[in-house]
Symmetry: C2
Subunit: 414 residues, 2 copies
């Protein structure tokens, strides 16, 4: 244990916040008093715009409008309208993003549809460090459709590409380490090999610039309950490059993806465009909450968010290095271009560290086996939060609270 003096003072951190173009945005969120919330990469905080909107949807649209609200409140168009609001955050055209099912269900559809665009090839390349559901869903797809999964080296995914590869499926920002792939470069590599580039944007959308059209990517799926603050279990979005939309053939061909859902025709005929990603009736309450949550992005450019995010993660890394450099290994890349919006620390008692921090009002999370993970949602996390979080982290380590917390947990489990 070798805690040393911080590299900046709390006053300097507060001054950084006062000078930020995002100052005041935090007031758009309901955050519990006394909590430093560094887990927005798992579940985003509650935007104040959500509760009033849900009240209106429940009382006025559902309660009073009843079935007529499918038209008068345009519930039919919700998936498209919400998609159009996400589009600028990922460098997409408004009309090319669809929102509806869970991330896992959406991945199932996009993996299958992407593979179908390369019928002569039967390999999907994944990284072994991908978020588990991506690997689980891809395994289900590969078994059902007689495809092969190939695990690439995360240090060089392109090395696994060959003329048998249909899809290179990567997560833009790694959920555990916070490392970020070169999306444009690896998209080019996939194309050079004749494969499609499929991007999981769960841990980047809303905090990291993503330029899907500029990068010429093929397919992307992203979560909306992390940096987009859509609420627990809010529906995922999917983007399909316009060149693939005419031939896009996703397997869950339900009535809301039909060209004329209420025509009740006996046979399926997909609607044009990305809307054919739809299967069932859209989840109106969840989509409405997400729609309201996206208000917090109004008038903020993604580059401003990115700069704020990097300033926060820079400061966190600097303070941890200076004060606890011998205790924690920062496993998140130090190069800005390789880093998402989180910082992950390796420690043998990482679980205890996270528990002890939570007891002190600093919420991060643990990822097995030895990672303490801290997310920095730039709309509501401040430099002062970062300073305070590291202060508490020092106190946990100095008091060996992480060892007692881990002990308590072991007893609770057995």
């Amino acid at each position: 244990m070798s805690s040393t003096a911080p590299t900046v003072t709390r006053e300097q951190a507060v001054a950084l916040d006062a000078g930020s173009p995002l100052r005041g945005r935090r007031e758009l969120f309901e955050l519990p008093a006394g909590v430093v919330y560094l887990d927005g990469n798992s579940l985003g905080a509650l935007p104040r715009s959500v509760a009033p909107r849900l009240r209106e949807v429940v009382d006025r649209e559902w309660g009073a409008g009843l079935i007529s609200s499918w038209n008068t409140a345009d519930w039919v168009g919700l998936s498209r309208r919400v998609g159009a609001r996400i589009a600028p955050l990922v460098g997409a055209r408004d009309c090319d993003v669809h929102v509806g099912d869970s991330t896992s269900v959406t991945l199932f559809k996009t993996f299958v549809a992407a593979a179908r665009l390369r019928p002569g090839r039967r390999v999907i390349v994944l990284e072994p460090t991908t978020f588990p559901t991506d690997a689980y869903v891809a395994a289900g797809v590969s078994r059902a459709f007689d495809l092969e999964l190939r695990w690439c080296d995360p240090a060089d995914p392109a090395a696994s590409l060959g003329d048998d590869v249909a899809v290179l499926a990567l997560t833009h920002v790694d959920f555990r380490s916070g490392a970020m792939f070169d999306l444009p470069g690896l998209t080019r590599a996939a194309h050079d090999a004749g494969a499609l580039a499929h991007w999981d944007l769960c841990h980047s959308t809303g905090a990291v610039p993503v330029e899907l059209m500029a990068a010429d990517a093929d397919v992307a799926v992203g979560c909306t309950y992390k940096y987009l603050n859509g609420g627990p279990g809010s529906p995922a979005f999917a983007w399909v490059h316009p060149r693939h939309q005419p031939g896009w053939d996703q397997p869950v061909t339900g009535w809301f993806g039909h060209a004329d859902p209420f025509g009740m025709a006996p046979t399926y005929a997909p609607v044009d465009g990305v809307a054919r990603m739809a299967s069932g009736t859209p989840p109106v309450l969840a989509l409405s909450a997400l729609d309201a949550a996206l208000d917090v992005f109004d008038g903020v450019g993604i580059d401003v968010l990115r700069e704020a995010s990097l300033s926060l993660t820079d400061l966190f890394i600097d303070l941890v290095d200076a004060r606890l450099g011998s205790v924690f290994e920062v496993i998140t890349p130090r190069a800005r271009s390789l880093r998402g919006s989180q910082v992950s620390l390796r420690h043998g008692s990482a679980y205890g560290v996270v528990q002890a921090l939570v007891a002190r009002g600093v919420v991060g999370d643990f990822r097995t086996p030895d990672v303490a993970r801290f997310g920095f949602a730039p709309l509501y996390v401040t430099h002062a939060d970062v300073y305070d979080a590291v202060e508490q982290l020092v106190a946990v380590v100095e008091g060996e609270e992480h060892l007692r917390a881990a002990y308590a947990v072991r007893h609770a489990v057995t």
Copy 2:
């Protein structure tokens, strides 16, 4: 046009309501003043318990509890808890019902998993009158998994069974006509042919007794936004007979169906039981709204609901026969045992009839090409509503309002 005197007076209808064991239940719903709502078979009315519960989930669980609510509010167990509340309405064990995805996505999973239980057989039998999404999803499944769809005669589905049939997939109550299949009898017929009986309960659950275990059925899927009043686009439920659960192999193998979701293991291993129907993160807001909505069923037996429903549809049919018998053809079976909880009338200007009725505050809906459909949700529709609805229907026909309404619509469209 030959309107005659009603067979009962309004006072007699009111007296039937006063004597009903369900009197007072209507007060559990927010219903707009001046509206007779006969479309609960499309979107159920708003239970008063929903808004306070959503406020609590948003403000306290999400806003204040943040990520900790996965444990402290048991969001992880929501799909199971809500399933357990639906179970008694369909004659299932509490632990055998899962709630999570849209009806269409759920049907995709159950069709595939059911067919996988009969690997030597490659036919799925469907009725041509099934709800469109069932047919569309089954078509997607058949194409992806090299199965064959066989369209049965709705008058005798069993005639299409043979030793090549893996699954007999029927909708219990027809969405257009309101006709109800003999679920136990057709389940036996499926088993006699070595096939599985797969039931779509969208138009029966909550209004019609369903005894899945007693009937020895195999799989069932149902909607929760119709008679269960879960709100627009609320998630569907799935039931899998316990004998099939150990080998149940649904294709969308996401992390929430894993035996240890937070263990983040690299390979998928399904959790025991029907919970392996889960794929992605559960939709917490929608599940919570549905959970609250189910309060209106507390203390009501399904047999009481059924008797009330039949009394309402009997009265509607009697009044339409007596007053408008020469104008409308009642296409819903008159035999109680063959009828769900709706009554459908055939008329060449059915669209105009429905529009003109809506203008008079009576909400039913139109199903192409010539059906006016009226649902009778027994928890909030009264005999007085039925009386009033037929009065308005008589007024529409006598004033030829349906012809003007249809004319107006044609002009609005062109």
